[in-house]
Symmetry: C2
Subunit: 360 residues, 2 copies
Amino acid sequence: MNRVFNFSAGPAAMPVEVLEQAQQELTCWGDTGASVMELSHRGKPFVGVAEQAERDLRELLAVPDDYEVLFLQGGATAQFNFIPQNLLGSASSCDYISTGQWSLKAIAEARKFAHVNVAASSESDNFSSAPSQSQLQLDSEAAYLHYTPNETIGGVEFGYVPDAGNVPLVADLSSTLLSRPLDVSRFGLIYAGAQKNIGPSGLVVVIVRKSLLGRANATLADAFNYEKQAAAGSMLNTPPTYAWYIAGLVFKWLLQRGGLTAMAEINKRKADKLYQAIDASGYYRNPVATDSRSWMNVPFICGDGSRDKAFLEQSEAAGLHALKGHRSVGGMRASIYNAMPEQGVDALIEFMAEFERVSS
Amino acid sequence: MNRVFNFSAGPAAMPVEVLEQAQQELTCWGDTGASVMELSHRGKPFVGVAEQAERDLRELLAVPDDYEVLFLQGGATAQFNFIPQNLLGSASSCDYISTGQWSLKAIAEARKFAHVNVAASSESDNFSSAPSQSQLQLDSEAAYLHYTPNETIGGVEFGYVPDAGNVPLVADLSSTLLSRPLDVSRFGLIYAGAQKNIGPSGLVVVIVRKSLLGRANATLADAFNYEKQAAAGSMLNTPPTYAWYIAGLVFKWLLQRGGLTAMAEINKRKADKLYQAIDASGYYRNPVATDSRSWMNVPFICGDGSRDKAFLEQSEAAGLHALKGHRSVGGMRASIYNAMPEQGVDALIEFMAEFERVSS
């Protein structure tokens, strides 16, 4: 059957070229006579896959040499707990910016270990904007400042990288990493669950400045001790090898397409035309402040909400998959990560216009 | 190219029928128009995959209704840390049996949270046997008794299930789960990294008696709080969906082959004939006490060790893959999990005889 345009927020659409290559070599990889998923993580063939993936990721993001790149498990959600355990050291407080559901989850886990100073929160405007730099009430003694550059559920994105002075900046980049260039040197630690722009779920990428390692608490699991995992090449325990391999294919796919500068251009164009279509219509509405709108996740409502069910049924039937908004907010959400082709966005815009026409 | 016979200890060989089905439907699963790895874990199609896998696993192991079945991340190694955090409650001590490298790792993580009473250790005989029930020095006040029914590196297996009285029994079944029937009701908690008999690495199955939940410590990550994950159907955070799907294919494969009773018969036959070949030869030697020999991992040395390199090169060239022993012990190791066909063991035995002939 034909593949649909998949607007799922994550696990999300993958590049079809990546899936086709994975399919071709699923039972036999290279000259190994085995599937990648059957290869020992300690054997030369898989170590080659793993190292190439790290090299390509470093190239894509121009990761400075004084940063470790880790391929771990547990997604971003588990790192919410492990980041304070790795970074607090003897500090008793850390700063968090609260811009939505994912910030709140990160804060809840951090509170298990330290006082959390909420440096800014957009909760009072129903998480529909990102605070500006001048609104941040930062603590210069904080162990780090954590924020969520893009809230996947609310579709709220920071248009800038916060300046935290000498305090290390930590960012949950799950939904935007690899969608555009990033100055990694601005951050102490960044992390991203793979299931949006990187690869299958079950893999999380952590990139951390080496000078921040060495302060983990004594009860942290070795498997999530970033210093120990860095020393072991992310193979202190058996890594999610197949997901790591698929991520490597995605990195190659991105390099072949001109890297993150090229992706940024396409992604901006995709987002711009979708927001323009929403704003130009009298029927659809995106609730987010225009300077905080996400390139990756575009939530919208139509009319008074009474036709949401019809919209979702008919769009699904038209080959536009998974447009349902997050269960906590309802409405619709189009996630348009790297792997969503521009034609998919065009098809959505066309469908929206026609749905508005017959609904009005 | 032809597929090899893959003796890797893990990630390990998968059933070729499973790989072929996964390959066929990799780009489009069912009528979704998307790959399984692109499906939202909250959508009906993937929830169906996940629930079917759990039902099939429950059927295979006859899991009693008062047990939760969890599909998590982090492998067994991470659970070494999370099990004490979930089970200790107000207890200050737990019992561990030490039979090799994996026991030692489990003990090291538990010591981060409690006093560990080593109820028995076979370290003095170089971990070449499992202690008998009468050798166990158990503490009736222990929070639980943990043991490693099969040590993957040493190839040492318990021929019995320890009796811990009223103390819950906890077992790392990474390398033996699904290799034969198991009376789950004897255990408080069992767990297994997927990459031996279940599916791709990055997935771990935890089966826990419901009455043991509810005593997690306050700083444990929600993503590894077994009670919270049970309440969320293992979807408190995004699960490793593709690995979960592959595990489901493996469960179906096992059911179609007659389940665990049928697998036990084949696995016993495979192990018996390999040990017989080793014992009958004057050239090969397995160092493990005969009553503690693993069905799954068969380590052996040949001659004085000087021909190990030749053995490994020539066996690899003959299509017998990954026979190298663990880096901590050297020599050879044949891992012969469910997916290793009997012909693979026959081919190994034949190769060993020929290698002995030209080496003697």
